[in-house]
Amino acid sequence: MQDLVEVTEAGLYCRQGDFFVDPWRPVPRAIITHAHADHARRGCGRYLCAAPGKLVLRSRMGGQAPIDVVRHGESILINGVRVSLHPAGHVLGSAQVRLEHGGTTWVVTGDYKLERDPTCAPFEPVRCDVLVTESTFGLPVYRWPSSEVIAADLDRWWRGNRDAGRTSVVLAYALGKAQRLAALVDPSIGPIVAHGAVMTMVEAYRASGVRLPPIDRVPPRARRVGGGRALVIAPPSVLGGSWLRLFGETSVAMASGWMTLRGVRRRRGFAQGFVVSDHADFPGLLAAIEASSARRVLVTHGFADPLARLLRERGLDAAPLATRFTGEASPDAVGVEEDDDPEAPASGTAPSPGADADAATAGIPGTAAE
């Protein structure tokens, strides 16, 4: 039987249904797992996404983009292929794409995580025959602390800085992680302020019905914003620019799964790194794969080779999915776990359905377009 998903020049393609999933080139019909720039590109004929993600996708694809939605779990037929979208727990509106045709079921996970996240619907395992999974953090060294631990660490750091009169700056991706962090911290410690790129997404989240604590936009040319008490949430691209100087003395921390590694923290010169990711950690990947009950697993971006090998040793029919970009996720793609900035052109010398996409464009924070 023919595969339901194949890799083409334009991206992951379902021939039977004549549509793409997260294409990296403009195509007539695109199903979008979530609105990060490496998964959602402008210029497609029609977009389909999960209902909770519509406003976020709209803000990224522009007001004119034709966006259709389905509720999580609701199924529709596209050229005879039964399509439904199921929560992936990655960011607001993120979805796994379930495809059913000719008695076979495929699931394309997009990006996902299993941890609790108050800003989006939790990951929901979907049974299938073939699973196409990401593997951004597919090595056993990547295991995330619980949300409670992350929240406690963030609060302790923020409180310590506040007491020392230093502004706390946490660098996080504008869509998803920034809102998740805002929802995690204790807003009674001080004011939360955000970079414009983050605020655009905060507004899209609020308009979508997500409850977030009060967050102020950093006023342009403000002096000593927050008086050393504030928690500033900004995209990594502010590093190296003059924007951070608005805040006087700061303590700058990066929130990323890559912060697990001491070498990465040191190389990037962050005094503080918070291990927070919207991707599944290694146990999460294994748990999700097991829960899918898939017998065949195709592993995309990240540590596809070792993860596929491990799965084969455990009796599954597993292989790396040969995309155009097979590079490993380098720890120096720290700026890259998700995309950086909604205003940044989604240019891509390296379009890929995965985290590697921005490795080429963002590279080192500070060099990324803002």
């Binding site: 060294v141 697990t260 380098s330 490795a359």
Partner: protein, 559 residues
């Protein structure tokens, strides 16, 4: 061990010297003397023991986690630090320790941990080692495991210099940093008693064998505007050849002679000839200088010297084959009097009165080339010139003379501590260079963990590329990231952490010298190879050849 773990992470978490110093001072103020003594040893890179082989740790970690051994290796290759890799993959401790409260019954002091656990573990059977390691894994959180692994495998290196440790201890003791640096030299702080003596405010015994902290020169390479033009008049400076040897101090006190390397190791065993010659000096003499291998009126070069310096025992044969001399260039102590505060021109006069000028007739006025020495100790000649231009011309002859360039020392300067800029400069000759092709790449460690930043480079020989040097990257961080991506994308084969890549990238390789070598497949050894720039404008076919390199060997080389 908790206090030391906290210190480790504090030091790791900052690049600011002031914060590191603060963390060290706080640690030493609070630590029990036994623990503090142990910490000094670990922090200053003392010889650590490997209580458990890392291969066993990997094996047990695979067993405990149920991961296949290849995946443990794959993870290690990615992380670049075994202690950290294992700490990250192991299951969380059974009962999470309450780190904030610092209350853990099982917490033992660093000294006790080293003595009773780590040192004694080395003697134990494999089964017993396994038992202890697995039990400890169940108890420690990830951040503690990293430090523990490093202690256990004898690989605990923290990003602090000995000078900084000395500064912290000086602050705790309330003495001058230079005094503390001196106290720390050579004598191991073996226990709490020794630590208390170290911190004693009064002066220590004068008749010990300890050397003075070495004063180090900075490179005069045009960086930060430092070049000869910025130094003022040439008459204010004393110039000497920069010998390609091994820096050392010769300490003669009481009836003792001690030869200390710059690494603060006592190297008497390797240099009995120097020790014997040192015994002829008056008591209370400390010379700063350079150990050189010299035979038959020729400098033998560093590689010959290193055949001596590594030895614990030296055969008579080796003494005859590779005789060594001590070239003295400074007098730090005379008749027990510390001269370091006196100006160099005064120390030099006293030195000249004490140590023979070695150069027999036949050598030129500048003492070029090697001496006909009656004694194994002689004076480093002063190279005099009327102008910087003249001195520059002499420097240009350095390679022919078998030296690395010139040392410039301010005549009015005292003998400093550590690398204090301004008074001592090394004015090295321009390095030799060749364009070479990247053949293998290996992930770095520490700050470059996970990035392919250690490169093996090759040159053309008979239509093939042969490896000639391994060099750490001297590229900018952004270039390293770029090279890393290319390496990953053009890997032909992987051997653990080493990737064989398609020969595509050309780098300009700089080095100090080339010599014939039987130990290298290429038949040549390059000294201090490092990458100076990425030649994006060159194709691999345009890289240099092994013959080009051979031609740089002084006197040529037999094929």
């Amino acid at each position: 061990m908790r206090a030391f773990t906290d210190l480790f992470w504090q030091l790791d978490g900052t690049t600011r010297t002031s914060e590191k110093l603060e963390a060290l001072v706080a640690y030493f103020r609070a630590a029990p003397p036994d623990d503090a003594a142990c910490a000094i040893d670990v922090l200053s890179g003392g010889r650590q023991i490997r209580a458990v082989p890392t291969s066993l740790l990997r094996q047990w970690a695979a067993e405990v986690t149920g991961l296949p051994p290849w995946l443990v290796e794959e993870s290690y290759a990615h992380v670049g630090d075994l202690a950290e890799t294992l700490a990250l993959i192991l299951p969380d401790p059974a009962a999470p320790a309450d780190e904030a409260a610092g209350a853990n019954e099982a917490d033992v002091g660093l000294a006790r941990l080293m003595r009773t656990t780590i040192h004694s573990l080395r003697q134990e059977t494999e089964a017993r080692k396994r038992e202890v390691v697995l039990a400890t894994w169940r108890r420690l959180a990830s951040r503690e495991r990293i430090v523990w692994h490093k202690l256990l495998t004898g690989g605990c290196r923290v990003g602090v210099s000995r000078t900084l440790v000395a500064r912290a201890l000086a602050e705790v003791a309330g003495v001058e940093p230079a005094v503390m640096a001196h106290r720390l030299m050579g004598g191991d702080v073996v226990d709490g008693e020794a630590y208390r003596r170290l911190l004693a405010p009064q002066r220590h015994d004068a008749d010990d064998r300890r050397p003075y902290p070495f004063f180090l020169a900075s490179a005069l390479d045009g960086a930060e505007g430092h070049d000869v033009a910025s130094l003022g008049g040439v008459a204010d400076w004393q110039a000497e050849w920069k010998w390609d040897g091994m820096r050392a101090q010769l300490v003669r006190r009481g009836s003792d002679v001690a030869v200390w390397s710059r690494g603060e190791e006592l190297v008497n065993e390797a240099f009995p000839d120097i020790v014997a010659a040192g015994a002829t000096l008056p008591a209370g003499t400390v010379l700063d200088g350079e150990l050189l291998a010299v035979a038959g009126g020729r400098l033998l070069g560093f590689s010959m010297l290193s055949r001596r310096s590594g030895r614990r025992t030296v055969t008579r044969r080796l003494l005859e084959d590779i005789p060594c001399v001590f070239v003295a260039y400074d007098l730090l102590e005379e008749r027990g009097e510390d001269l370091r505060g006196r100006p160099l021109h005064e120390r030099r006069l006293r030195l000249e009165a004490l140590v023979p000028t070695p150069f027999a007739a036949g050598t030129d006025a500048h003492g070029a080339g090697p001496p006909q020495v009656p004694s194994a100790i002689f004076l480093s000649p002063v190279v005099s010139a009327a102008s910087w231009t003249d001195l520059g011309l002499l420097r240009a002859e350095a390679r022919r003379r078998g030296v690395e360039g010139l040392m410039l020392k301010r005549r009015a300067s005292p003998y400093g501590v550590g690398r204090t800029r301004g008074d001592w400069w090394k004015w090295k000759i321009e390095p030799l260079e060749i364009d070479a092709v990247l053949l293998y790449a290996q992930a770095g460690h520490g700050r470059r963990a996970g990035l392919h930043s250690d490169y093996t480079l090759g040159l053309w020989h008979e239509g093939r590329l042969v490896t000639v040097a391994k060099a750490y990257s001297g590229l900018a961080d952004t270039e390293i990231v770029e090279v890393d991506r290319i390496v990953r994308a053009t890997t032909l084969e992987k051997h653990g952490p080493v990737r064989i890549c398609e020969p595509m990238l050309v780098f300009q390789l700089a080095f100090e010298a080339v010599s014939a070598s039987t130990r290298h497949k290429s038949g040549v050894a390059v000294r201090f190879p490092r990458i100076v720039r990425w030649r994006r404008d060159k194709q691999p076919s345009e890289a240099g050849t092994l013959d080009d390199l051979r031609r740089m060997i002084p006197g040529g080389v037999p094929r």
